[in-house]
């Protein structure tokens, strides 16, 4: 399903959604596509419209304008919806007196699935030993796993999770990252929201960054990091002067950042190595600087008009997106 002969519709297409709750515009022209075979991070501060968008995708909220399609079809037209898209919106949405297994069982029955499929998703969730217990006694981490198991009941080509990392311990976060990557590797489209970019580190292939009900950036993670890294090379050498001369002549901008450390902008690491070797300049270590996803996100949001207003108000230019939620919510 990753490639078709004729352009297949995107796994999820969000098209110009607008929705107001009273005076607040929760969605203000939200548009993006989610592709198959990738983990797409849906990132933005709390109140940026992520959950509302997901509810619109599932047909739970009606937008004032625009529409959302699953594989080219509105959710309301899906006949066995959990076979098309599995979603986890709120891990706490459980009847406390009902066992976790029975929760999955009724959901399976609603799709014409049986107990066998329930056992399969339970095995994959790592909850097998606790599955007969009442859901009311589950920890938040167990509820997240249960919610993911529920999303996988229909073996859907599209998986959508709202803040699945919330309340998870490091082991749980590690498990979900691996699970999501595995789902994408199977060719599924995975849309996962978070208000913390760091949670998506090493997991997301693509990012849809949103603020105030619209998309700020819709970009691949590799491009974003490359752009943010900007071809910076860090060099450790005893011959600082020679290196500076040679690299500057080749077009690099060289800055001294330590007794034996130089930072070079404007040259790739391969080019820097070639120039240094050609000039016979010895060096101890040369590394391409790689920006973290979080740094890249900061660069992005710092450049964003939407966020500039927020950050100047709070007078913390490097504030995390979370701190802007007051203005957006």
């Amino acid at each position: 399903m990753t490639t078709g002969t004729t352009d297949p519709p995107p796994a999820i297409a969000v098209q110009a959604l607008r929705k107001r709750f009273g005076a607040t515009a929760a969605l203000d022209g939200m548009s993006f596509d989610v592709a198959a075979g990738k983990v797409t991070g849906f990132v933005g501060p709390n109140g940026a419209g992520k959950s509302t968008t997901m509810r619109v995708i599932l047909g739970l909220d009606t937008p004032d304008e625009g529409r959302a399609l699953i594989g080219g079809v509105p959710y309301s037209k899906l006949r066995r919806p959990l076979g098309h898209i599995g979603a986890l919106l709120d891990a706490a949405a459980l009847q406390p007196g009902r066992s976790a297994r029975n929760h999955l069982l009724w959901l399976a029955h609603s799709q014409g699935l049986g107990a066998k499929r329930v056992d399969e998703v339970v095995a994959a969730s790592g909850l097998a030993s606790a599955i007969k217990r009442k859901a009311g006694g589950y920890s938040l981490g167990m509820r997240q796993r249960l919610g993911i198991a529920a999303a996988m009941l229909g073996d859907p080509p599209v998986v959508m999770l709202d803040e699945p990392f919330n309340g998870l311990d490091p082991e749980g976060i590690f498990w979900i990252r691996g699970y999501l990557k595995a789902l994408a590797a199977e060719g599924r489209a995975v849309l996962v929201s978070s208000h913390l970019m760091s949670e998506l580190e090493g997991c997301a292939d693509h990012l849809v960054v949103v603020g105030r009900g619209r998309v700020i950036a819709d970009t691949g993670v590799a491009e974003l990091i490359a752009r943010s890294s900007g071809g910076r090379v860090v060099l450790r050498t005893g011959a600082r002067a020679e290196a500076t001369t040679a690299l500057a002549e080749a077009g690099g901008t060289v800055a001294v950042t330590g007794p034996d450390t130089l930072t070079v902008d404007g040259l790739s690491s391969e080019a820097a190595v070639r120039i240094l070797n050609a000039n016979g300049v010895p060096f101890a270590e040369l590394s391409a600087h790689r920006a973290s996803l979080e740094e890249a996100y900061m660069d992005l949001t710092r450049d964003s008009v939407e966020f500039r207003a927020a950050t100047t108000q709070t007078s913390t230019p490097t504030s995390t997106p979370t701190s802007t939620s007051g203005e957006v919510a």
Partner: protein, 530 residues
């Protein structure tokens, strides 16, 4: 589970939801127990005092109940009947030349034995009767046909207690006598009346199957008790007393093969036969017949020939075994409402709607499951309660009124339907208000409160009737087995078990409420964001 376009899947899912929450399952079992248990409380607390039964052991003291006709229907069959035997086909004709009566407005009987009618006021009761009678012997409860004049309901033909056909609505007085005629041809009896004895008008016919060749024919008079019910907030008080009717007949003619002379009950003969203490002070002391004029009789009677209407204290009606229905109903309402409001409270409604984007089907699936389960709970509970409570009533030596098997089935199935429709009503209200306590309170106020107000004898009869007509409590009519006979004056109030609407019409009122609530719930579920 398969179904039309996946609806069966949703029903399966809703059934799984319902059965996997232990509290709800317990609630439904409790509903059945409450229905049976509350029904038991009434007879359990009953005691019949058997003080002076000639020192006989008390276990021989049973509430006897009224006599019955051939079908088992309880009847009154007391009159003064001047009769002779007619064999085969024939007819009887008589002219009623005077018709008047006496009654005790203050509720007491005659003052003393020497003057049994002292203190009584002149006048007929609405259903005082005097006329001609063809009867299968004089045994109580036997088949009959009669053409008769009444106090205020004109000339009528009646037969076999429950059947009543109106003739001309005229009052018979000495200035306006009336001719009455009954003819027998096989099992068919035809009633006629005439103002002049020349021009006859047919009132109706009666088909009395199994009427023997020889029957008793003659003239009769009888008069039911005077009763005035004063109803107000806080209850009702009934003022009753005996009454007498006297009819004077002449021109009595019997055609066909007759045998023997007229049997004329002497004044006071019924009282003497009764023999009970105080009988000679009762109206029976003056009941009897005397010849008058040429071949005529003046007949004075007390009692009635009519179906017996169960009143207060006269025994247990069959539906009293289902008096606990309201308890089971409360439990069903709570469970039905919570199945919906808990989804809203937990946010589970989003999971449900994501699994079933066509929202109307989700509501329908819930309604099918809750309605179906509640129906089964009601059916089981009622099917246990009716025989079980009746057995307790019998063990307490209470008289239980007759109901046909068909009526009992309607009562049991109707109770199941009452619970089922109430569950759907509660589901709809819960969907509208989305909060458990509010939904449960609203539905209980709508169904149970008016029911209790209507039957608990706290409201004036008019208000009780009104509640039992326009509120969802009207549905309790589906349990009614007693019949409000038009030809019998009685206190036909919800308190006494008489609902103003017919059983299915009463259930229809609840269905109407449920349908309106369901339509609103359906619309809101579609319109609202989840």
């Amino acid at each position: 589970m398969s179904g039309r376009d996946g609806f069966g899947r949703l029903v399966h899912a809703e059934w799984t939801k319902l059965r996997t929450v232990r509290g709800w399952v317990i609630g439904l079992v409790v509903a059945a127990f409450l229905t049976v248990g509350f029904g038991m409380l009434g007879p359990m607390g009953s005691q019949i005092a058997c003080d002076h039964v000639n020192d006989a052991p008390t276990h021989s003291c049973h509430m006897s109940g009224p006599p019955k006709d051939a079908t088992g229907q309880e009847v009154d069959d007391q009159s003064t009947f001047v009769h002779r035997t007619l064999t085969g086909d024939g007819s009887i004709t008589a002219r009623l030349t005077a018709f008047d009566g006496l009654y005790s407005p203050d509720g007491g009987g005659p003052a003393d034995a020497t003057s049994p009618t002292a203190g009584m006021t002149s006048g007929l009761q609405p259903w005082s009767k005097a006329g001609i009678l063809v009867k299968d012997g004089t045994a109580t409860g036997s088949a009959y046909a009669a053409v008769l004049a009444t106090g205020t309901h004109g000339v009528r033909m009646q037969y076999d207690y429950t059947h009543d056909t109106a003739g001309p609505n005229v009052a018979v007085t000495s200035g306006a006598p009336r001719w009455l005629r009954l003819t027998r041809a096989g099992d068919t009896l035809t009633g006629y009346e005439s103002a002049d004895g020349a021009t006859w008008t047919e009132i109706g016919t009666a088909d009395l199957a199994n009427l023997p060749q020889s029957v008793q024919v003659g003239v009769f008079a009888t008069s039911p008790d005077f009763a005035v019910v004063k109803s107000s907030f806080g209850g009702s008080s009934t003022n009753t007393g005996p009454s007498l009717a006297t009819g004077t007949f002449d021109q009595i003619a019997v055609t066909g093969q007759t045998a023997g002379d007229w049997t004329v009950p002497a004044i006071g003969s019924a009282a003497a036969a009764d023999g009970g203490p105080g009988a000679l002070q009762g109206p029976e002391a003056v009941a009897g017949a005397v010849p008058s004029g040429t071949g005529g009789f003046t007949v004075t009677g007390t009692g009635d020939i009519a179906p017996s209407a169960p009143g207060e204290g006269a025994g247990k009606t069959p539906e009293s075994s289902l008096a606990g229905t309201f308890g089971g109903l409360i439990a069903v309402i709570v469970v039905a409402a919570l199945t919906m409001t808990s989804e809203y409270r937990r946010g589970l409604i989003r999971t449900s709607l994501a699994a079933s984007p066509r929202r109307g089907r989700l509501l329908a699936a819930k309604a099918v499951v809750l309605g179906g389960v509640s129906f089964v709970v009601g059916l089981v509970a009622a099917a246990i309660a009716v025989p079980a409570v009746t057995a307790v009533e019998h063990s307490k030596r209470l008289y239980v009124y007759y109901a046909s098997t068909q009526t009992e089935i309607r009562m049991v199935v109707g109770t199941a339907a009452l619970l089922a429709v109430s569950a759907v009503f509660a589901l709809a209200v819960a969907t509208i208000v989305r909060r458990g306590a509010a939904a449960v309170a609203a539905v209980i106020v709508a169904i149970i409160l008016p029911y209790i107000l209507a039957v608990a004898s706290v409201l004036p009869a008019g208000a009780a009737q009104w509640l039992a007509r326009v509120t969802p409590a009207a549905a309790f009519a589906v349990q009614q087995t007693v019949t409000a006979w038009p030809q019998v004056s009685a206190s036909y109030t919800p308190t006494n078990g008489y609902f103003p609407l017919s059983p299915w019409a009463g259930l229809g009122v609840l269905c109407l409420y449920a349908a309106v609530a369901y339509a609103v719930a359906h619309r809101l579920l579609h319109r609202r964001d989840a």
